[in-house]
């Protein structure tokens, strides 16, 4: 065994010396070494070097890239793309936004649009077996709610990042990884053993309920997450025609899933889904909001890296998935970040520049900008003519800004929203990425409506679900064209309706049959096959 490599690390909260396992032959990277040392970085693209999530600053020493390149300090390096050269006094600085240890902004709140009875899905024996779990497995965050089945009340909630994130950021990256021998098991263990098990133990301990009293669980999640939960090979969903191995409701047991805290025979119900990219999370939301009963045309929209859209019209349920990419989670943007402590959540231009910034509390200083802040910027930047319809920063408006707010590189411009802080920089390249994400969502909505012969004005309610929706300034989402052509009164922000639906299905046994009916009745619209999609996408690249 070679000697461990000792390096100095400047963390956001202080410096330390770290002993890294020596690596020479097994191809491990600095990101792997830091993870093994208990300080995982944000390797959200799955260590492909495609994102800037694990970027650290090389303060002293040399970095050997996997591609044979060598970098000498000072340099910005992607920790997943190589290792530090041996040598004394090697020092790196890790910015807050590159750490994977941030606590997620958890969405456990949801609005329920339908009445429900307390008549649980699973048998209840008061005092013995009388609690249940409502679970939402998101690609990014996982929430477990402990429900008292006698009252139907949620008594305890815990959430954390889905530990699969360390293996790959988006669903397709994980689908691909699952095709590598043994990795399906690694992914399954990441969700079952390393994410759900501690959360379940946590809610039981927190509420002082013995796990033996768990009587059943319901699980909502996208189709890929439910495949990985059950150890089912998802690889056919990665390529056209995107076939799922199962979509139907399934009743399993805790033992089947591999959960050891609850009683082995505890029933676990996986809620039904519609297609590979419109999953049980949407079906749960559909019933939770009452969309499936809406008499007037209504929409359910969940915006994440993928945008899922359901349209209820004249008793027909149309479903589609559009792909936004990671921009709204801060991916590929110069100062983008997820909604973590220290992120700018909102930007308010009260007439003039510079704008007021609202931070998510819990950190010292600003770590970057999150999706909702960028949407604010698009809407208001356009309103004050700082942005042109093409998304370019107006040269004349830019010239009038105080020099400290101006940024330029070659001939592209940028704007520092806060003069003192470079973590508030928005560049024209960022705007171009955001416009593509915005256009994919907007074109998805408009194309689906067009299929039904409808326009945004015809919609009674657009239920906006999911964590991003909860943080979004709805007026700005409309003004930027993300929710194109709607009026604020039409939008109802409903929160985590996937969790809401799982909870409803657990406490009221008439709900699951409704979900099954909705999932089988839904008609899937493939946007690629819609003739007008490309044109609509290009139209919506512009700012209104």
């Amino acid at each position: 065994m070679s000697r461990p490599q000792s390096i100095h690390v400047q963390w956001p909260d202080g410096a330390s010396t770290l002993a890294l396992r020596a690596v020479h032959h097994d191809g491990a990277t600095l990101a792997d070494q830091l993870a093994e040392a208990g300080r995982p970085l944000n390797t959200r693209c799955g260590r492909h070097g495609r994102c800037a999530g694990c970027t650290v600053e090389l303060v002293a020493g040399r970095f050997l890239g996997r591609d044979g390149t060598e970098h000498a300090a000072p340099a910005e390096i992607k920790a997943c793309q190589g290792r530090l050269a041996p040598g004394a006094d090697t020092t790196i600085a890790v910015p807050a936004r590159s750490l994977a240890t941030h606590r997620p902004q958890v969405v456990t709140t949801f609005k329920v649009g339908v009445p429900a009875a307390t008549e649980p899905l699973v048998p209840v024996v008061p005092g013995e077996s009388d609690h249940g779990l409502a679970i939402d497995i998101g690609t990014t965050t996982v929430v477990v709610s402990l429900v008292d089945l006698r009252s139907g009340n949620i008594v305890r909630e815990e959430a954390s990042f889905n530990r699969q994130i360390e293996l790959g950021d988006d669903v397709v990256t994980r689908i691909q990884l699952a095709g590598v021998p043994d990795k399906l098991d690694v992914l399954r263990d990441a969700i079952v053993g390393r994410t759900l098990a501690p959360l379940i133990a946590g809610v039981c301990a927190g509420a002082a309920i013995a796990p033996e009293r768990l009587a059943g669980a319901t699980v909502a999640g996208n189709t890929t997450m439910l495949h990985l939960l059950t150890g089912t090979d998802p690889t056919p969903m990665g390529v056209a025609p995107f076939c799922a191995a199962f979509l139907e409701h399934r009743q399993l047991t805790a033992a089947n899933i591999g959960l050891s805290t609850p009683p082995p025979a505890m029933p676990v119900h996986l809620l039904p889904g519609i297609s590979a990219y419109v999953g049980a999370d949407l079906v749960a939301g559909c019933v939770c909001t009452g969309l499936n009963h809406c008499a007037e045309p209504s929409l359910l929209v969940d915006i994440g890296t993928n945008g899922e859209i359901l349209l209820m019209h004249r008793g027909r349920l149309l479903a589609t998935a559009t792909a936004a990419g990671p921009a709204f989670e801060g991916g590929r943007l110069a100062r983008g970040t997820r909604a973590v402590a220290g992120a700018v959540a909102h930007v308010r231009f009260d007439g003039e520049f510079p704008p007021a910034l609202d931070l998510i509390p819990g950190a010292n200083g600003i770590v970057g900008l999150c999706g909702s802040a960028y949407v604010d910027f698009l809407a208001q930047g356009r309103r004050i003519s700082l942005l042109e319809p093409t998304g370019r920063i107006s040269p004349s408006a830019w010239q009038t800004l105080p020099a400290v707010h101006r940024h330029h590189r070659d001939i592209t411009r940028g704007v520092r929203l806060n003069a003192q802080n470079d973590a508030t920089l928005v560049t024209e390249a960022d705007v171009a990425h955001l416009l593509q994400a915005k256009a994919a969502i907007a074109a998805g909505i408009v194309t689906l409506l067009r299929r039904a012969g409808l326009a945004p004005a015809d919609i009674r309610t657009l239920y906006l679900a999911g964590g991003f929706g909860l943080h979004l300034d709805v007026a700005h989402a409309i003004e930027s064209g993300l929710l194109p052509g709607f009026r604020p009164e039409q939008i109802d922000v409903v929160g985590n309706t996937a969790l809401g639906g799982a909870w409803l299905a657990l406490i009221d046994r008439t709900v699951l049959p409704e979900m099954i009916a909705a999932s089988t009745a839904a008609e899937v619209v493939e946007l690629n096959l819609e003739p007008g999609f490309e044109d609509t996408f290009i139209d919506h690249l512009a700012l209104p």
């Binding site: 390529v239 056209a240 171009a432 690249l541």
Partner: protein, 211 residues
């Protein structure tokens, strides 16, 4: 300003309606379709590509310009064909099997047309055998493969392998798409890679020996 100059500007600025109207007007004024392509469209797309490379414009503006170019080409193509005008070089392009993304591929196709290539577009979800059949049919100098999903990168590998093993006429293979890199292109034995539609033109011309 002449009609051709106006047309060139309308295309570069992405004004689809104007591009269409001006193309019609130029034709009405008796401008030959071949001259229209050479003196208005080719320079317009060259300018767009150049501005993109210099970071003066980004993908959204380029897509809008490409759409304007397409409007003009729709009017011209039947006339060019009738006049027997075919560009010197032919390129095939398609999205590999398992992938249905085509906006980026379409943009590359338009830019290649704008650089005076005849472009045969095989569409999306194209199996390797269909590429081979099309090579035998159209005898292109260049072939472009697009993949937007990390999960369809293996299909790209397979397509390059099949083309090379097929014994069809020699052809240069270029690959591209968001998850593709220069390194990947080299690993799978492609002849060229471009990260965007602007550099795709330069690389294509290099590969066929046009420059």
């Amino acid at each position: 300003m002449t009609t051709l100059e106006q047309l060139s500007q309308a295309v570069a600025a992405g004004k689809s309606k104007d591009a269409k109207a001006l193309t019609q007007r130029a034709l009405d004024e008796g401008v030959k379709p071949g001259r229209l392509v050479d003196e208005a469209l080719v320079p317009a797309m060259a300018a767009v590509g150049e501005r993109f490379k210099n970071n003066e414009i980004f993908v959204p503006e380029m897509l809008v310009a490409a759409r304007a170019m397409k409007e003009a080409m729709n009017l011209l193509e039947p006339r060019l064909l009738a006049a027997g005008i075919t560009p010197k070089y032919t390129a095939l392009i398609g999205t590999v099997q398992g992938d249905l993304h085509d906006i980026g591929k379409n943009l590359v196709a338009v830019m290649w047309r704008g650089a005076n290539f005849r472009v045969v577009d095989l569409g999306t979800n194209v199996p390797p055998a269909k590429f081979v059949a099309a090579i035998n049919e159209h005898r292109p100098q260049l072939i472009g493969l697009s993949a937007l999903l990390t999960t369809t990168m293996p299909a790209m590998v397979e397509t390059v392998r099949t083309i090379r093993a097929s014994g069809c006429p020699a052809v240069k293979i270029m690959v591209g798409g968001a998850p593709i890199s220069q390194q990947f292109a080299e690993e799978i034995g492609a002849d060229g890679y471009a990260s965007d539609a602007g550099s795709a033109v330069d690389r294509a011309r290099e590969l066929v020996g046009a420059i």
